[in-house]
Subunit: 329 residues, 2 copies
């Protein structure tokens, strides 16, 4: 019987339980994976706490990103075969299809192959981070080589993906992080400039770096009181993508800066991309090409065993990680 | 000596003075108009009070929109001739070039002809209102016949222009106004639905009208606490244009609605259009065509004489007007 992570109430990491459940067969449009690696996402912490866009129904699974081998396919599935090496694109109910476990059933549309030279650990660290950054910067932001991009919380896996995509476009990547401890890491990861927000005035630094113009694109998961500052660091006609709600403080809209500079503030999640076949197709091709060429390369912070799922979540909550946390199965 | 309106300190309507000033000659890139009519704009109240994007230098002129006859042209001016019947496009310093008066010098690029069948009073009520609504709804919003547009403060001249442009595109115009007194006027002006915000729950009404989808475009000069409600009345993937700051209350960014629905909130002013030659050219053509066909027709609320400029500003501040207030000269 495969071990599956479930939880029966919202709460802190202790609610996560590793349970022996019987193996089930995929529905007609589904496939079953033998899971090799699981990429962790902050969405799963929010979901576990009952603070996510989707509310758990108990007992609930969780988890968006797994890499594994297809071991069963539903009767209506085409294009996916037993034995395929795939990873999952987060485009399904995290509670119903959650992939934390030795076995996972997911919709067939949500699996995609990944380049052969990547390990399963890397394969579990692709779609959430790169598709999220792709959608904002490339699909909506039309990133070009003359742009400056301000990337906050830059040492998260999505932040690092945004740095790589910015550099792949020939644009300028300005990364922010709270403490000085992650500065050299971010420079090595490709950032052109790193602003330590606990020590440096962010707006002044961005303005100095961009010769007073500001960043044309801003990619931010924090919101709260930061948004007003971000608006001051944004160029005329620029766009601010808000893709998360990490700040506990209320978010004010920077009305006067927005009027004076014609700013766009856009709420954005990956789901806009994965629910649109054309956008998803463009994103998959972009990411495949970038992984093949080496322009995109997943950065893995640390791995945990499935038995250590609680420690893995605690580690993710500690915010010390630099890159993706992956559970190996 | 022409009579010119100036003010020597910020304040209430009493600061406006009608002064006899000597006639001056236009600079090399300027033209001088014999003013026939002046369209009043809320921007001029804000500027008079010292609350506008531009700060007055005293003594300061004011005024963006005049219709008149060209009576002198600068040495480098081409395309504008003495005797031309033109009106001014607000694309200049309101303090330096303010058009309130019998005579006005403005940059040559800021004058445009208007259709012969329009009176000078109507000619002074074109560019601010139609270009503002055009830029948001057509240029950026890509308004189409299947769209629903939510237009707040709809009985202002810009609100009425937005209703006309919405109907010209075959889309659905949902207008809001505070009191029931303007409802029949707004229906006659072309609104498909009018929501009386003092009496009716706005979000529920918009949702009922749009079969639960919400409005794809929202065009709002109020902001403040209204923005959160507007987000709830906006469709997935919709855009909210904030083109003013009428509300005295702080504006919160509707983060969770924006994330859940992929909403765009965009600060917007007419200056984005008038400073971009391509956009301005498209806007002028669109408005000329609409005025010629009758799809667009300026709605004049009331006229005042130049001597009554203080009463005209007081009337604008009363918010009882429905459409444009024009001063005749």
């Amino acid at each position: 019987m495969p071990k599956i992570v479930r939880f029966h109430e919202v709460g802190d990491t202790a609610v996560l339980k590793l349970e022996d459940l019987s193996l089930t067969e995929p529905g007609s449009e589904e496939v079953r994976l033998r899971v090799e690696a699981i990429g962790l996402n902050r969405a799963e912490i929010m979901f576990r706490r009952g603070q996510y866009l989707e509310t758990p129904e108990f007992p609930s699974r969780l988890g968006y990103e797994a890499a594994g081998i297809v071991e069963a396919v539903g009767s209506n599935v085409s294009g996916v075969q037993i034995g395929d090496r795939v990873s999952t694109i987060p485009s399904f109910s995290i509670g119903k299809y959650g992939v934390y476990g030795e076995s996972a059933i997911v919709p067939a549309y949500a699996v995609a192959s990944y380049p052969d030279q990547l390990s399963a650990i890397e394969g579990a660290a692709i779609w959430m981070q790169y598709l999220t950054a792709f959608g904002a910067l490339i699909e909506y932001g039309h990133l070009g080589p003359r742009d400056a991009v301000l990337i906050t919380a830059a040492s998260s896996s999505v932040g690092l993906a945004a740095i790589q995509i910015t550099k792949a476009s020939g644009a300028l990547a300005i990364a922010t992080t709270r403490g000085a401890d992650k500065k050299s890491f971010l420079l090595e990861a490709g950032a052109d400039h790193v602003i330590i927000t606990d020590e440096e005035p962010m707006v002044e630094r961005v303005m100095a770096i961009t010769s007073g113009n500001g960043a044309r694109l801003v990619f931010d998961p924090i919101a709260g009181s930061l948004l007003e500052q971000l608006a001051h660091a944004t160029a005329h006609g620029g766009m601010i993508f808000e893709y998360g709600a990490l700040s506990p403080s209320p978010t004010s809209f920077p009305l006067f800066a927005a009027l004076a500079k014609g700013l766009t503030v856009r709420g954005y999640t990956l789901f806009e991309i994965v629910k649109d076949p054309d956008k998803l197709s463009r994103g998959k091709r972009y990411i495949h090409d970038g992984l093949q060429s080496g322009a995109l390369r997943p950065i893995i912070d640390r791995t945990f065993s499935l038995e250590a799922i609680i420690e893995a979540h605690e580690y993710m909550e500690s915010n010390v990680q630099k890159g993706k946390i992956v559970v190996t199965v």
